[in-house]
Amino acid sequence: MSKQERILADLAKGVLELDENLTVTTAKEAVEEKLDAYTAINDGLVAGMNEAGRLYEEEEYFVPELLLASDSLYAGLEILTPHLPKDEEGEKAKVVIGVVQGDTHDIGKNLVKIMLEVGGFEVIDLGRDIPAEAFVAKAKEVKAQIIGLSTLMTTTMPQMEKVVRLLEEEGLKDSVKVLVGGGPVSHAYAKNIGADGYADNATNAVRVAKGLLGIQVEDAIA
């Protein structure tokens, strides 16, 4: 195994095995060794996160593991991102994401955000308890292609429909796709309110988001 291969393997391992120290040490080593930052991110960190996502789908990993893997990922990114050549930061598809008004449960939303970023999207996270108007305003401002809405509570589900109606009123329904998810939300509900997509977990959210845009987005965070 070459030195570069070992570094990439350790970056992936640091994320996959939730070992933030290993990721940070190895990311610094990658910088010292002048390893291409783009390669280090994609073949190291992102590869590890994708593997963690796979284990999550296979029910080997659950939410605590995925959160710690992402902490490790972001710790590595913080070190490597400043070393990226400017011209490789191409235009990425934008997703405005948040938990709808009345709800503060943001575990699921945070997971979706992480996996969307790993999947190559630029994610604008509005946080939790967000009014419908704020989603639409932000989507217009940043020219987002997708609005991602999450809720864990049945009582706040009507807020999702409100976002869809607002987009219709503003004539944006075709240009901005709405992706919904969360505990009580179902495919049937998504269809019922006129949302464009529904995903039952964070890794599927990436597939559905890519499907909605009909584009191939590289597995690249950079």
Binding site: Y61, F62, L68, D71, T104, D106, I107, T154, T155, G183
Partner: protein, 339 residues
């Protein structure tokens, strides 16, 4: 068999004694039935009734009358416990239930521990107890259910849930200490409620799901503390129901260890199969809350009757009801059980 009143029927089921038919209930707390239509019809409204014992009792009574549920369910939110621990609560509106605006502590390691008995004298603890007392003395035949926040969810309401979930792995000692704190408090709360005419306790623990925690963490954190609060209820002379959200398949085999008198589940669980898999366990549920909101009522009636026919022990909504669910839809469910 002599005709059972609603309280005897529910207690019989929970004590594994014979009944004429399953009770149809809505436990309160995260699964409360304070729907907008009842509040608009009666003028007894939230958020006021969250903070006033008399209004809380009156709202529980009119809900029971309008919906046909065979119990009173208190309180109407899952923030009573977190509030006394110092988390910031947004009391919500008529349509929208209270929520935690900000958890008191940023992570498990920074929790400041207070005396549980002192906490039990604060916030809306006495409001809930007083409302329960009123209902129990005015309507002795109808069971008063108190629905509390389960220990994992309570811990994740005191500590910011994202760091708390990470702490389960990276700082288990601190996480266990918070869990123990939440558990001791809940046992005290249950003991207090047992002195105020409550007939049974429900623990709703939406953070403690197989999907979020996975079987390993569920076994380490959910099972032992849920077991302790259930045992605490039993010591206080009360049966205990535990509601598990989401897909419980990954943790199904662990459920008997909790020792609950009934397990309530979400709509996606096939209760008939769960009953087959775990024959010693009473099952409760699980009419889809989506169906209860959107209907049609014929379908609600059909689904409910199927659950009764399959021998499900207690019929109830599968999760938290949408506050915009119409009375007519809830009645279709409760009447289907009685027909």
């Amino acid at each position: 068999m002599t005709l059972l009143n609603p309280k005897q029927r529910l207690l019989n089921v929970l004590e594994n004694k014979p009944v004429d038919r399953p009770p149809v209930i809505c436990p309160g707390g995260m699964m409360n039935s304070a729907i907008v239509e009842v509040m608009k019809n009666t003028g007894i409204t939230l958020p006021e009734a969250h903070q006033d014992a008399d209004l809380m009792a009156r709202l529980a009574r009119v809900i029971q009358q309008y919906t046909g549920f065979e119990n009173f369910g208190l309180p109407f939110c899952m923030t009573v416990e977190a509030e006394v621990f110092g988390s910031t609560i947004d009391m919500g509106t008529l349509e929208c239930e209270p929520k935690i605006a900000k958890e008191r502590f940023p992570d498990s390691g920074s929790v400041v521990y207070e005396d549980v008995e002192t906490l039990l004298q604060q916030g809306r603890i006495a409001t809930v107890a007083e409302a329960a007392s009123k209902l129990a003395s005015d309507f002795p035949d109808i069971p008063v259910l108190a629905s509390l926040t389960g220990p994992v969810s309570l811990a994740a309401s005191i500590v910011d849930p994202i760091p708390f979930l990470k702490d389960l792995r990276r700082n288990p000692e601190a996480a266990h200490r918070v869990m123990d704190y939440a558990t001791r408090f809940l046992i005290g709360f249950v003991r207090l409620l047992s002195q105020h005419g409550v007939s049974a306790i429900t623990f709703g623990d939406p953070t403690a799901t197989g999907e979020i925690l996975g079987p390993k963490m569920f076994k380490e954190y959910a099972v032992p503390y849920l077991h302790r609060v259930v045992a605490g209820a039993h010591e206080a002379g009360l049966p205990a129901i535990v509601h598990i959200c989401g897909d419980l398949s990954p943790v199904k085999a662990l459920l008997p260890e909790i020792g609950a008198d009934a397990i309530s589940t979400d709509a996606l669980i096939n209760l008939r199969k769960l009953k087959e898999a775990l024959p010693g366990i009473n099952t409760m549920g699980n009419v889809s809350t989506y169906l209860l909101e959107f209907g049609p009522k014929e379908k609600i009636s059909e689904v409910t009757k199927r659950l009764v026919k399959e021998g499900i022990d207690i019929i109830s909504p599968a999760c938290g009801l949408s506050t915009s669910s119409p009375i007519e839809h809830i009645r279709a469910m409760t009447e289907a059980v009685r027909s």
